[in-house]
Symmetry: C3
């Protein structure tokens, strides 16, 4: 959607022209916006409501990406980074807020862990396999991958502390979670400062040559309008998703943790996955990795602190960052393997398969719990 360093990029989906209106394949999923409403009103089974709302969310998030892409090109890089961070994670936020209000805190925390693991292991693994089926060997910028790997470790340290505290000391970890969130948030602001101020020369080139930009001929004002309307629609669909998740969990016989870690994480990161795989096929592995890493980092450094710090206001009680030991070990392993894979700046399909294997191992474990 947008990378960690505030540079936006858009999807190059096959597009279709209908007279003056250019439609992308994914836009047809917008039909699911009214459909999901119908499902809700007709009280159809949870799996149907969930699926239609999920399809609608994918289409809406695609529209939001396009709109933020157009808006980003007209505003300063600082405002652009802010817009990208906010709207790029809007759906994660909304689902989390609705879920927290519905008492699904375990699921929300699992979806945070899940998003990080999914973006680093599944998305990057898939990209390496997709690219590796076309190219024997692909290269990527290991400096930027290394910086992201180090951020991952900081995140793991941060998330480990309240969890360890809760397990070992047995006391509530809200205060420690707030302290950790502040530190993670400060690191996020510092990394923006690095990207936008002190080391912007490293990132300017990318900005001047966006990958062919937006297809759509939307003027600036239309883009703003579409962005706002999409955000409202996204909020509505998020509430539908959360409403249908509890019956869905019962129907499928899965746990809240598995639902958050796999279902919600997959759903809220579909656009990133498609983009990343596409760039990999275009031999731009650097961008694929950045999409995966930046998406994971934004969840942990932006969504998590905001959720923890606002949860008291929005839901009445402070969300803590106490994860289960399985979630913790999965994050540690993810951070370790991300560093190993990114260390040499070269990849091939087997490295992708290795990442997917680790994802499969983790998903298997959570299936059994």
């Amino acid at each position: 959607m947008n990378n960690f360093f505030g540079v936006s990029f858009t999807h190059n989906f096959m597009s279709i022209r209908l007279g003056r209106i250019q439609l992308h394949r994914i836009d047809f999923l917008l039909l699911f916006v009214p459909l999901s409403l119908a499902c809700y009103l007709l009280k159809l089974p949870a799996i149907v409501s969930f699926t239609s709302a999920a399809a609608a969310v994918v289409a809406i998030s695609h529209l939001m990406v396009e709109a933020t892409g157009i808006i980003s090109q007209r505003v300063s890089s600082t405002i652009s980074a802010l817009i990208n961070a906010t709207f790029g994670n809007a759906i994660e936020f909304m689902i989390a807020i609705f879920a927290l209000r519905a008492g699904l805190e375990t699921m929300v925390k699992a979806s945070i862990t899940g998003s990080i693991i999914l973006n680093v292991l599944f998305l990057i693994g898939l990209s390496m396999v997709a690219g590796g089926m076309k190219y024997k060997e692909q290269r990527f910028n290991k400096d930027s991958a290394g910086l992201s790997s180090t951020m991952l470790i900081i995140i793991v340290v941060g998330l480990a502390m309240p969890s360890m505290y809760s397990i070992l000391v047995g006391k509530p970890a809200q205060d420690m979670s707030i302290a950790v969130s502040v530190i993670l948030g400060v690191i996020y602001l510092l990394s923006l400062f690095y990207t936008l101020v002190t080391h912007k020369h490293l990132f300017i080139v990318k900005r001047e040559a966006p990958p062919s930009g937006s297809y759509r001929p939307w003027p600036f004002r239309v883009a703003v309008a579409i962005l706002l309307i999409s955000a409202i629609a996204a909020g509505f669909e998020s509430s539908l998703i959360v409403d249908s998740i509890t019956p869905l969990i019962d129907t499928l016989g899965i746990t809240q943790t598995f639902a958050g870690l796999v279902l919600i994480a997959l759903l809220t990161n579909i656009p990133e996955q498609i983009s990343a795989a596409r760039f990999a096929r275009l031999n731009n592995m650097t961008l694929s990795l950045e999409i995966g890493m930046s998406s994971a980092l934004q969840i942990a450094l932006f969504v998590v602190p905001v959720l923890v710090l606002l949860s008291s206001t929005l839901t009445g009680s402070t969300m803590d960052l106490v994860l289960s030991p399985f979630e913790l070990i999965s994050l540690v392993m993810t951070a370790m393997i991300a560093n190993y894979i990114s260390a040499d700046g070269i990849c091939h399909w087997l490295e992708g398969a290795q990442l997917l294997a680790v994802y499969a191992l983790i998903a298997t474990a959570f299936f059994f719990i």
Copy 2:
């Protein structure tokens, strides 16, 4: 014995000519085949039976290496890889099967952990010290070492899951162990596909220049016969070893875990250790590292899945992959340090000593437990 990528190599032991028959020093250990039988029949003390069977096993496994080396040169690379994987780990397999039948599951699992740790820390550490006493600095192929390091992490993740599940959830982990074994087995097959099909160009050079090949003038048929006879003898000696291990444990006052982790692991990997140290002295550090890493990986990606999946058929109950927390932390540390050491592609004796120190620390811990 044979490396992870299906390339075979043989030992350059000092050899002696007796008329037309060329004998290697190690062949004299074949005398222990009848001796160990005698020990068994005479019901000599466990330490004597165990030692004589162990010496016989070393000699037999050397014969098997020579025979598979000759056979490998006549068959396709795929069949060669298969033969190497099967016969290269035959003794590990047989001892494991007999031990599982004798109810020594703890020892079998400890010997798996022990083989991984031994090959990565002790064998590679010894090679670096052996080579480092002759050369100030030695270089090795860090790409292949890096791929192996990543595999080690996957293995650690895989083995951690059932152990964590058992500790935290407290339920039997057989089903999860089967799932993990399938994933590890798939990764093994994929890595063979990578080596033998999609990226075989990276490995052909090595195959065309095997390190001087086999000394022995055995024709193909003789080699096949010797391989089969050796396998039968190996099976017999394996059963002797397992028979004498329980009384040996009592005599020495050690635990099943220590016996598996140190004794069995050392015994079944002696040929690899001698080869690796020799290649290090010949300044072929790349090969030394490959022997150690591939031996560790084959245990985890080939022996472990096969054992878990066949254990139900062969022994009546499914072996799970639940390791003790000490075994787990030892594996995690081994994987971490393997990556650190292999990252730069250069080594010297102090790095070898560092690996040996970690091995000593782990062995010490298991001695105290």
Copy 3:
């Protein structure tokens, strides 16, 4: 103070000439030697006694650095390394011995963990930020940083073993701590052998061009006398610090662990921190990293073994190496991130901020416990 490889270097503080006597700013802190004695005799509040003794210790350790610097240039490199190791850690030793006698074993162990974490995360992080405010990018020797990172892992493995043993087996870990100390001590001796004998060619260049050497025109005999007098004064101040620490803990409402991990660790490493930051501003990041790493390694490989092996003689009971799980996870994370940061040989202020963030996260956690 002095690096791991036995090369000494001195501080380039602003100095002031008073006739023939050259004074450094830090020397004015020597006034705190009599002041701290006065505080003690007048039984002033703990915070006053502690602070004045701490200021005196900083001034004394600076004198000791200058004196060892002059002495090192006249003796063989082996004796120089020995003097540096002994006097460079004299204050840590003395405080530890007095604290052990006072029954503050938890604090002593926390101060060991704290010194390692502080030197690796805080000191190196601060240096990277200090240097990064002046230079966009700084380079350092990644080979030496890599060797130190690997040592850190060995230390973590070593310290993990007795802690795990105590947690999992529940028995006293004195014997295992002694075994671990012997192995760590052997690795220390081997690394000196590497530096001073087998690979001294790598370190000679540094020795021939010490960073401008000592300012002071002390003759050799005067330096020896000053060193011995300083050592005695240091012993006296150490006993004052330990005497005031228990009432200080009560006053501030902190734990022994927090006092050791943060207060004692900060205090005993102030000279290193100032030096490291200064060298970073002079764009000698290699030296900054070496100061931090070598200081951490000397604590673990020299101070820890000596303390454990002598504790029985000096205090009547053997100090074990059982750390709390929080200390252990902090060490593991420190070792991991040290490796990640040092892998590429390049740094900038954001990497420094990342290290400081991890330090902040760890300190926060220990504050809450």
